[in-house]
Every structure is written in structure tokens, then in C-alpha cells.
């Protein structure tokens, strides 16, 4: 009785519907059913955990008794805390997409956006769906056909039964689409800020990194000063060259301790307005190269990439307008794809116009672009005006366009480029199968100065090497270039065919034709390409096997007047080649799948040499959580040499296993062995066989959906053949012998804050024994003292790497 009276008096003190999760500390403190200590504990628990899931959770707190629980249950309520809206997929997508032959940075950024603000599936067509990862042309067209014939869908899962849509395609699109209706009148403000810090302590990049280039530059300078190399034609040129090399050497020294970081901010208002900006600098890059031309401010010294955009979406015939930096990738990428990356053997590509805040610099377009749609017509128009880097001749004139991580001031922003063009497509899906379309496009490029690719600017005049590089001979000359393109594509049931052909103003042609057949178990595709030797479009990112300057003199910096020009080997333009590529994926049974088998037979058109590459991978899945994959790769390449061509045969065997042992754990192991056989050369001895291999392990433990820790370790040994492997977010090259481990922490703290933290330690050992040199003038020696010779030493390189990423959203 007394208890009932007491309870009644307490009830009177608590307002009805009192929610513990949203109560302030003072409100909890004033509750008569709680002591002051219990109020403190409960408040801190609610603040710390985001809220009680249910009222019984209080029994886990210190000093909370069943009586307290009873009182709270009678007098208060618990409204469940809001579930986080930000999918942890935003962090996972970067890992999933960081794979061999993956799609590259530009596409990943676009897909990240779509995870947060998916495409409205009932408002889009196959044009839009083609921009998604691992969604084939047939998948995209089949969904469009379903929407045209049966009308809008009420849920994404309704698309699952779409005719000719593979489950694989459906799975890869479902996270990026939703049934929401775009509201162009809404002005809800949202945005995100991303900060990335990227650094490594140690001797990064023994060959291609800053240390490798420093070594080559020093070697060139020493050689010239010692009179070991005949200089360029005149003493003025000679002086110019040595001054340039010394200047580049000094700039590279300054870049040794440069850490990488980027700031990226994006904002939007409703579905109509978006804007963003990026300021960043890469690891070991040379900055101070006029981020904004003519601006005398510290920002020019701190960053090497600056980007900005404003975009406008409309539901009228103007679908999108982007002012500022944008990325454009259309058709097969033969006419226009302004990424800084060339993805090898990639049959999927991002289609369309998107704002660009990626790290790309040399091929970034800055100006305006628009996407228009009127009935069956889809059109793109674009214009850009931006500086470009170029290797310069000794007289200062631009030699060839240049893309390199290391941009000395001598090569930075040498000329201005004006780019303009358009592409129009006519969709014939109303009377032919959905997906059928034809298109025509044009591209014009104009430079503020004439490109003058003269061999004299590159070749060391009197060395033993006779300059022979047809790919270089056909590099653009003059101050303008233009291209016209035609494309066509169609889908019939589960078959598709696409082609694009481009003609350069010099009469050179390039074309590519691709056909695909697919169902849920079998996918077969074939692609024929022919890129003429004299065809050179700096925005060509079409399917290819090699970069334009792979296997050329530009891979040998010691054969160049300026060793830094060797970075031309990374120019992301396909090699002149003619080839036939065939690929298949075949699921034999639930247990056995040929995940990717391909054969590429191509001819290097610079030398008419035949090459072949085959890869086959089979997966065996004895039980659901365990998978084994065996991969074999074979490549036979012929490289042109002065007297007879040399041949290289590469074989690679990889065994991988993945398992999900318990709960949120994921374990994988990879064993690889590779070898290369080269044509023997008497100059280097008869032993021209190189090999290497590694064992890598990786384990990820998920403590909760918001927190996971991933650890990985790799052991490798090589004998002349460098190895490569994919870590969680990128490729790593393995030289010498060594070990490596890394730890990655992914933490989604709230809707507003996510972080990713990675730490790497890499130990590489390079034994250097038996340096017997019979020539007293050809000795190895210590720094600063040529007389102090060295015959044996061991080199142990320790690299520490870190990558932090913060994402703040609102």
C-alpha cells in the first residue's frame, strides 16, 4: 500500500512519455527513481553509446538493480536511437575496387558519391547505368528495357527478375541505385570533407621513386662533368643541359621529405546544385610549380593539384552542366577520356560526364561541359583551357607532352592547351532493341606553343645506342590537332556489340570493336583493336595491353640526355597495336568457376612484332566459406633490338585461398611464383632467367559493423624479377628479399565521422657481394670519397608508411 502511494507520487513527477535517450543530464538527475550517481552513470552511458536499445540494458550498468529497472519501466520510455545512415560501404568500396585491372581513381570517386546519393532508377536510362562498376552494357540495357516496357519499379529488388540481367550485374548495381524521386526544388544542404594524409619514411621507390631518379640524375651529371659523355651540339646547349640537370637534382632533393595530403570538400543543395574543391600534394612531389598561374601566394608552394567545380542538374533537356574541373569518358574512350590513368585490359569503363576532384593533373579539363538530352538525342559539349606540362628542348621549346610524378619547374606548365569538342548519340531504342544507338564526335586541341619533338632533345649524341623509337617519332608536332569519331552499339537479348573509330587530322585511324554474350553462368567477350602508329590522341584511354612508351628507350633513363624524361614511359596512352582479345567467365557448378580466362594476341605496330598473353583462373569452393583460386599467366613478348629482336617469356603461378572462419572474420592467403626468360645476351652473360615469388597473408576481424581491424603480412624473395601485390587499397612492388606487415583500422564513429588508418612496415634486403672490379677506374666507392672502395656490403631498407583518412559529413 505504502509502495503504491510512493509510486503514485513519483509518477506525478515524471512527464508522460519521458524518453531516457533524449533526456538531459539535469532531467535524469531530477528523476526521483534514480540516485545522483545512477543519473551520472546512465547519462554517460547514453552519451557514450548513442542510447539504450531497450530498458533492460540498464541492468548492465553498475548499481542498477531490478527495483531501479522496475521504476524506470513504469515511468519512462526508451525510444530507440537513430540508426546510422552512412553505409560503411564507403570505406569498403575503395578496397573492393583496388584490384588487379581495376577501374582507377576517377571511377571510384564517382561510385563513392553514388553510395551516399544513389541514382533514381526510375529516372535514368542505360546511358547512366553504364557508369557503374561491373555492370555490363547488356545488364544496363536490360534494366532500361524493363523500365520502358513495364514502367517504374517500387523497389530495387524488383529488378532482380529482369530478363537478361545477370545476378552478378544486379548485385553490382543495387547499392548505387534507389527508387527515390529526385526533387529539383529541394534545397537541403549537405556536404562532406575528406582529409587524407599519406606518408612513408624510408627510401621509397628504389627504381621509379625519387631515389631512383636522383641516382640517375647524379649519374648523368657526374658523367658529363667527368667528360665521359659528349654533350649536345654546342657549348651553349651543353651549359644549358648541365644547368638544367643540376636544377632538377636540387628540386628532387627537396621533394624527398614531402608528405602527401589532400583536402577535398563537396557540398550540395537538393538534387540540383553541387560544388566541390580539392587541394592536394602527392608524396615526394615537387610543388611550387604554379598551382594557379601568376598567383604569388604560399598556396602555390604547398599544393600541386587544385581543382574546383560547380554543377547544375536539370530535368529539362539540359541534364547536367559542370563548370570547373570535369571528367568526360564516352563510348570506348578512344576519342575522349581525360583520366591520368590507363587501365590495362579493362573492358568496363565509366561512361559519362562527372565533376572531377581526383588527383589527376596533366589530363584534367578545366572549363565547362554539358550533357543534354532531347528525346532520342543525347549530346555532350565541352571546352577547356588549362596549362600542360611538357618536356622541353634545350632552346626552351616544348618537345612532347609529359606526365610525371616529378615535375621540375623546367617541365611544368610549359604551354596552355585549349580543348573543345562534343559527342552526340542517337538512341534507336524505340524501334530497335533498347541499347541500340549511333554517335558522332569531334575533338579539337590547340596549344599556345608548337610542339617540336626532335630526337636531338632526347638522345645522348655519342653513346653506343642508336636512337630507334617509332612511337616517339609520331608524337604530335605543331600547335593544333583534331579528331573526329563515330560509334555504334546494339544489344540483342543477351548479346551486345559496340564499336568506335577515330580519325586524326593527319589521316591516322584508330578503332575498336567489342562483342559480348552473357548469362548467369557464362560470359564471353571479344575485342578487336587497331591503333595506327601515327595515331596519337592524348585523351585516348581505350582498351590496350601496353602504354605507348612501354618497352622503349624511355624505360632506360641512362640513354636519355635528361633522365627525368624517362617518365614519359608512364604516358597513359595506348601503344600502337593491333590485337584480338577474348575473355570468358564460366561457372561450371556451385563449386567450380573459371573466374576470368583471357587470351590477347596483339602486334606491336611500331615494330610489327607479335605478342601473346594468356591468363586463366579457376575457383574451387568446397564449402561456402572457403574458396581456392589457382591462376596461371603466360606472356610472350618480342622487343625490337638493333640486330635481332629479343624475346621475353613470363610465367606466373598464383594460388589464393579465402575463408570466412567465424563471424566477421576474413582470412586470405596468396602464394605466387613467377619467372622470366630473356634472349641471352653475351654482354650480360648467358644466364638470362629471372624469377621471384611471395607468400602473403591477410586477416580481418570485425569487432562490430562500425569497427574492424585488418592485418597483413608478406614474405618475398626475388632473383631479378620484381613482384607486385595488391594490399587493401593499392599496388605494391616487391624487390630484393624482404618482409612486410601492415595494419588497417576502419572506424565509423557516427553518421558524421569516419576514419581509416593504415600503418605499414616494409623491410627489404639487397645483398651486394663480390664486387670485384678489375678496372681500377671502375670501382664502387663510398660517398664523398672515390678512393675508399667497397667490395661487399648488405643494404637493408626499412620503410614505414602511413595513410590516414578522415571523412566528415553533414
Amino acid at each position: 500500500m505504502l509502495f503504491s502511494l510512493l509510486l503514485a507520487s513519483m509518477l506525478a513527477a515524471v512527464p508522460p512519455g519521458f524518453d531516457l535517450n533524449s533526456a538531459s543530464y539535469e532531467e535524469l538527475y531530477s528523476l526521483e527513481g534514480l540516485t545522483s550517481e545512477q543519473a551520472v552513470v546512465l547519462y554517460e552511458y547514453i552519451q557514450g553509446t548513442g542510447g539504450l536499445e531497450n530498458i533492460y540494458e540498464v541492468l548492465e550498468l553498475p548499481d542498477f538493480t531490478p527495483v531501479t529497472l522496475g521504476w524506470l519501466r513504469e515511468n519512462t520510455i526508451v525510444l530507440p536511437p537513430a540508426e546510422p545512415e552512412i553505409s560503411s560501404d564507403v570505406l569498403n568500396v575503395m578496397e573492393r575496387l583496388a584490384q588487379e585491372d581495376g577501374p582507377g581513381d576517377a571511377a571510384v570517386e564517382y561510385w563513392e558519391d553514388l553510395l551516399l546519393r544513389p541514382m533514381p532508377i526510375n529516372q535514368i536510362s542505360w546511358w547512366d547505368l553504364r557508369s557503374l562498376d561491373r555492370v555490363s552494357f547488356i545488364d544496363a540495357a536490360s534494366v532500361d528495357a524493363r523500365l520502358r516496357s513495364l514502367g517504374p519499379v517500387s523497389s530495387v529488388s524488383s529488378l532482380r527478375s529482369t530478363e537478361n540481367l545477370r545476378y552478378y550485374g544486379y548485385r553490382n548495381m543495387r547499392d548505387y541505385i534507389s527508387t527515390r524521386e529526385p526533387d529539383y526544388s529541394a534545397t537541403d544542404f549537405y556536404g562532406s570533407y575528406r582529409f587524407i594524409y599519406d606518408d612513408n619514411e624510408g627510401r621509397s621507390g628504389i627504381d621509379d621513386g625519387v631515389e631512383g631518379h636522383l641516382s640517375e640524375l647524379k649519374s648523368a651529371i657526374t658523367d658529363i662533368l667527368a667528360g665521359g659523355r659528349e654533350l649536345s651540339s654546342t657549348s651553349i646547349d651543353s651549359l644549358e643541359l648541365i644547368t638544367r640537370l643540376q636544377s632538377e637534382y636540387s628540386q628532387l632533393l627537396d621533394s624527398r621529405d614531402v608528405t602527401g595530403f589532400s583536402h577535398r570538400i563537396r557540398v550540395g543543395a537538393g538534387d540540383r546544385y553541387r560544388a566541390g574543391a580539392r587541394l592536394s600534394r602527392g608524396v615526394n612531389t615537387i610543388a611550387g610549380s604554379n598551382l594557379i598561374a601568376g598567383l604569388d601566394a604560399p598556396v602555390n608552394d604547398r599544393f600541386d593539384v587544385g581543382k574546383v567545380y560547380f554543377s547544375f542538374q536539370d530535368d529539362g533537356f539540359v541534364r547536367q552542366v559542370v563548370a570547373g574541373n570535369y571528367r568526360l569518358s564516352l563510348a570506348q574512350g578512344l576519342l575522349i577520356d581525360n583520366s591520368d590513368e590507363l587501365m590495362y585490359r579493362n573492358t568496363y569503363r565509366t561512361w559519362g560526364l562527372t565533376p572531377d576532384l581526383t588527383s589527376s593533373r596533366q589530363n584534367a579539363l578545366l572549363g565547362g561541359a554539358t550533357q543534354m538530352e532531347a528525346g532520342p538525342l543525347l549530346g555532350y559539349a565541352f571546352g577547356s583551357f588549362t596549362p600542360r606540362d611538357a618536356i622541353t628542348n634545350l632552346d626552351g621549346s616544348p618537345n612532347v607532352l609529359y606526365q610525371g610524378v616529378f615535375r621540375p619547374e623546367e617541365y611544368s606548365d610549359v604551354l596552355d592547351e585549349t580543348t573543345y569538342g562534343g559527342y552526340a548519340f542517337y538512341d534507336m531504342g524505340d524501334y530497335l532493341p533498347v541499347g541500340t544507338a549511333i554517335g558522332v564526335g569531334a575533338l579539337g586541341i590547340q596549344y599556345s606553343d608548337s610542339l617540336n619533338p626532335t630526337m636531338a632533345g632526347m638522345d645522348i649524341p655519342t653513346d653506343t645506342y642508336t636512337w630507334d623509337c617509332p612511337e616517339y617519332a609520331y608524337m604530335p608536332a605543331g600547335d593544333k590537332m583534331s579528331y573526329i569519331a563515330a560509334s555504334a552499339q546494339t544489344v540483342y537479348r543477351n548479346m551486345s556489340a559496340e564499336m568506335e573509330a577515330v580519325r586524326q587530322d593527319n589521316g591516322a585511324w584508330a578503332s575498336i570493336t567489342t562483342a559480348n554474350w552473357q548469362n548467369n553462368w557464362l560470359n564471353v567477350s571479344a575485342s578487336y583493336r587497331n591503333y595506327a602508329l601515327d595515331f596519337m590522341n592524348p585523351y585516348n584511354r581505350a582498351f590496350s595491353e601496353q602504354h605507348r612508351f612501354d618497352d622503349t628507350v624511355f624505360e632506360k633513363p641512362y640513354r636519355l640526355n635528361d633522365p627525368l624524361a624517362s617518365q614519359l614511359a608512364d604516358l597513359p596512352v595506348p601503344k600502337p597495336e593491333e590485337g584480338l582479345y577474348m575473355e570468358t567467365r564460366f561457372q561450371v557448378s556451385q563449386q567450380v568457376t573459371f573466374t576470368k580466362v583471357y587470351l590477347d594476341v596483339w602486334r606491336n605496330l611500331a615494330y610489327d612484332t607479335e605478342n601473346l598473353r594468356f591468363q586463366g583462373e579457376v575457383e574451387y569452393r568446397p564449402v561456402w566459406p572457403v574458396r581456392f583460386r589457382l591462376k596461371y599467366k603466360f606472356q610472350d613478348k618480342i622487343n625490337n633490338k638493333e640486330i635481332v629482336p629479343s624475346n621475353s617469356r613470363t610465367q606466373e603461378f598464383t594460388l589464393r585461398t579465402f575463408s570466412l572462419p567465424v563471424g566477421g572474420d576474413y582470412f586470405s592467403m596468396e602464394l605466387r611464383y613467377g619467372n622470366v626468360e630473356l634472349t641471352p645476351n653475351p654482354l650480360y652473360g648467358d644466364d638470362r632467367s629471372m624469377c621471384g615469388g611471395f607468400l602473403a597473408m591477410r586477416w580481418e576481424h570485425e569487432f562490430s559493423p562500425e569497427l574492424s581491424v585488418l592485418g597483413g603480412s608478406t614474405f618475398w624473395t626475388t632473383d631479378g624479377m620484381s613482384q607486385w601485390e595488391f594490399e587493401d587499397t593499392g599496388i605494391d612492388f616487391l624487390d630484393g628479399d624482404g618482409t612486410k606487415f601492415y595494419v588497417t583500422l576502419k572506424n565509423t564513429l557516427s553518421d558524421n565521422l569516419q576514419l581509416r588508418f593504415k600503418f605499414v612496415r616494409k623491410d627489404t634486403f639487397f645483398p651486394h657481394n663480390g664486387f670485384y672490379r678489375p678496372d681500377p677506374d671502375d670501382q664502387y666507392h663510398y660517398q664523398g670519397n672515390p678512393d675508399e672502395t667497397v667490395t661487399d656490403f648488405g643494404d637493408h631498407v626499412t620503410d614505414y608508411g602511413i595513410r590516414c583518412q578522415f571523412d566528415i559529413r553533414w
Binding site: Y45, I46, Q47, G48, T49, G50, G51, P81, P84, Y197, D199, E201, G202, R203, E211, L214, E216, K218, S219, I221, T222, D223, G228, Y249, S250, L253, D257, F703, S704, E706, L707, L745, N747, T748, L749, S750, N752, L753, L755, F757, F759, F766, H768, D778, Y780, H781, Y782, Q783, G784, P786, E788, V790, F793, D795, H796, V797, T798, Y800, I802, C804
Partner: protein
């Protein structure tokens, strides 16, 4: 130039470059072990020790008495290499020149705090800087015959006796003020013992007594799940004394800021960050410009309560060096914590690697540009902390 500066440069020349250890030493554990695991985010730390650094933060300690203790040990590894060149001047690799590995126990600190209503007080002792370095090398001639042994030993620490007071002006805003008296000794010994008895050994010993005062003021503001603090500290009256000769050290003002963010999730996550900036370009030794650069640093960390109520922490710290850009260093930290009744036990491990070339630091011996001795070193520190609320 003062004797201290002269002594420093002499030591730098002799030892082939130990810049930080010959300035004011390596920073000690200034906050709790939990903060050490969270990227050394002392200015965002709520502990009696951190309240000496950020006086206003003592107002966020639990009511009544609280006490905290930290101690640590460090493993230092240092490797020096020389580049090997071929006859064309190309780099073949790097050959080891010396390798040293030392283990140092490092005192952390002990502090007490009392909070009642709007007033909070804290007092304690911390080892604010430590000097610990040992180096030895066998010197050979060109035929690998030993000619001498070289040894260098630097030891000592700076003691910080501090106090602070804080008061809560409004419900979510507190102010604090405090100060420290800093005193300590750095002892350096450099010796070269020649095998040939006819050659005189080299033996140099320098003891430097350092003392001064630091004044501090700060404020902390609670904004719901976010708490922000900011403050300044100003060293005054710093002196260094070698062989009874005093040198004035003019040290600059340092501004600091800290942030705590409690997102509210199932893991009871806590995100902390702090930032500091110091006008070290104005450092003077006996009124002579020490030619330093302004310096800054930041730390950030996150803690999650894992199943079993173990607290997991991870963090990162970046500090720019006032001496040279090449000496900027990053530190990775991690740790665990357990709370039992009113006790909390925390453990932290930090790892800080650095690599620099001698030519990158002014005043050190070098051969030619980009062609010098390379120093690769790392410090691994294990810190243990115990705290109790009474």
C-alpha cells in the same frame, strides 16, 4: 654566441648529428597513458597530469580527489649508413656505418587533482623532457684494422613541478591558469679511445644545468558531444649553465588547442585531437637568434570499448621540428585500457621512426649536397598508467 650554443654545435660536429637531443631533449609523457595511446593528445586529455598542461581541463575531472601515475620505457634503435656509388656516380645501395640499440627507463609523472563545485586544483611532477642517447662505433682504417673506439653518452632530464587551478564560470565554460618550475641537467660525454697508445685519447664531458618557469592559461567549452579547449603557455626566465657560466634562453609562446568528440555509438567511441603551434623562430640564446623555424604539430586518436569492456585505442601524432624540416617526425600509437571500480589501468605503445640526411640539418658536417651520412632511427616507447578517483 653563448656557451650553450657553442657546446651544442661542438657536440653536433663530434657526434655526426644528434639535433633534438642537444636542444631541449625528447618530450616526456605529459599526460595520462590513455592520451599517450591516442596520439599524445595531451590537450584533449582529462587526467590529473594533463591538467598541469591544460589547467582548465581539471574542471572536467570527477568530483573529489583523483590521482594519476605514469611511467615508461623506451627502446632506441639507430642506424647510420653511407651511400655506395659506382664509377658513373649511380647509387648502388647504402652500407651500414654504425648500429646502436639502447633501452632507457623513463619516468613519466605523478599528479593529484581535487574538484569541488566550480573550483578545481591540480599539482604534480612530470619529467617534461629526457636526454637519453648512447652511441659507440669501432673505427677501422681502409684495411678493416681497428684504430679506435668512439663512444657518446647523453643523459639527464628536465623536471617539471607544476600546479593549476580552474573554475567553471558558466555551466559549459571553464577557465584555468597554472605554472611550472622546470629544472634539470643534461650530461654529455664524448670519448675516442685509440688503439695506438701514442695517440692521445679524446675525452669531452659537458654538464648543462637548465632551469626556468612556464606560465599557462586555458579555457574549455562543452558543446554537447563536442568539447573544445584552447590555451597558451609562455616560458620565462630560462637559463642554461655550463661550468658556472650562465646563458639566457629566450623561448617563445606556444598556443595549443584540443578537441574531444563523443559520437555516441555501440562502441562508446571517443575521438580526440590536439594541435599546437610555437613561434620558435624567435628563440634566442644570449640574445642571439638561434636560427630556428616556427614549429607545429597535431595528434589524433580514437578509442573504442571492445567486447569484454576492454578499451582499445589508436592514434597518430605529427610534430614539425624547430631545427630542420628533415627532422619532422610522425608517431604511431596504440594501447589498451581497463576500468575496475574507481581504478583505471592503461597501457600505451608508441613507435616513431625517422630518417634524415646530414646535409638537411644546418650546422652538421656534410660532404656535398645530397651526398652525406644517412641516419635512420626509431623510438619504441611503452607507457603504463594508473589512475584512481577517490
Amino acid at each position: 654566441m653563448g656557451i650553450t650554443a657553442g657546446g651544442m654545435i661542438i657536440l653536433l660536429a663530434l657526434s655526426g648529428g644528434l639535433p633534438e637531443i642537444n636542444w631541449l631533449g625528447d618530450e616526456g609523457v605529459l599526460g595520462s597513458a590513455a592520451a599517450a595511446a591516442l596520439g599524445n593528445t595531451v590537450y584533449a586529455d582529462v587526467s590529473p597530469q594533463a591538467a598541469l598542461q591544460n589547467p582548465a581541463m581539471s574542471s572536467r575531472l570527477p568530483e573529489g580527489f583523483s590521482a594519476g601515475f605514469t611511467g615508461s620505457v623506451a627502446l632506441d634503435i639507430e642506424k647510420r649508413t653511407r651511400r655506395v656509388y659506382d664509377s658513373f656516380g649511380g647509387v648502388v645501395g647504402e652500407s651500414e656505418h654504425s648500429f646502436n640499440q639502447n633501452f632507457h627507463p623513463l619516468p613519466g609523472g605523478v599528479a593529484m587533482a581535487w574538484t569541488q563545485g566550480s573550483l578545481a586544483l591540480a599539482a604534480g611532477w612530470r619529467a617534461s623532457s629526457t636526454f637519453g642517447y648512447e652511441y659507440s662505433r669501432v673505427m677501422n682504417d681502409g684495411d678493416y684494422v681497428e684504430v679506435a673506439e668512439e663512444m657518446l653518452d647523453v643523459s639527464g632530464m628536465l623536471n617539471d613541478f607544476g600546479f593549476s587551478a580552474a573554475w567553471t564560470q558558466w555551466e559549459s565554460v571553464s577557465f584555468g591558469a597554472g605554472g611550472s618550475f622546470v629544472t634539470g641537467t643534461r650530461s654529455s660525454s664524448h670519448r675516442i679511445a685509440y688503439v695506438d697508445p701514442t695517440v692521445t685519447d679524446l675525452d669531452t664531458e659537458v654538464d648543462t644545468d637548465i632551469s626556468g618557469i612556464v606560465a599557462r592559461a586555458s579555457a574549455v567549452v562543452d558543446l554537447g558531444r563536442v568539447s573544445v579547449s584552447a590555451g597558451i603557455e609562455q616560458p620565462v626566465g630560462w637559463k642554461a649553465e655550463i661550468a658556472s657560466v650562465e646563458t639566457d634562453l629566450t623561448l617563445p609562446l606556444t598556443a595549443r588547442a584540443g578537441l574531444r568528440y563523443l559520437p555516441g555509438n555501440h562502441l562508446m567511441s571517443l575521438f580526440v585531437a590536439d594541435f599546437w603551434w610555437s613561434g620558435t623562430s624567435s628563440v634566442e640564446i644570449d640574445d642571439v637568434d638561434a636560427a630556428m623555424r616556427n614549429s607545429w604539430g597535431f595528434g589524433a586518436g580514437v578509442e573504442n570499448t571492445l567486447p569484454g569492456n576492454t578499451i582499445g585505442r589508436v592514434g597518430f601524432e605529427y610534430d614539425s621540428s624547430p631545427l630542420a624540416g628533415a627532422l619532422n617526425r610522425m608517431t604511431f600509437t596504440t594501447g589498451l585500457g581497463w576500468a575496475v571500480d574507481d581504478y583505471s589501468l592503461d597501457a600505451a605503445v608508441s613507435f616513431s621512426p625517422i630518417r634524415w640526411d646530414q646535409y638537411q640539418v644546418d650546422g652538421l658536417p656534410s660532404f656535398t649536397l645530397g651526398d652525406t651520412l644517412v641516419v635512420e632511427s626509431s623510438r619504441t616507447e611503452f607507457t603504463l598508467g594508473l589512475a584512481k578517483a577517490f
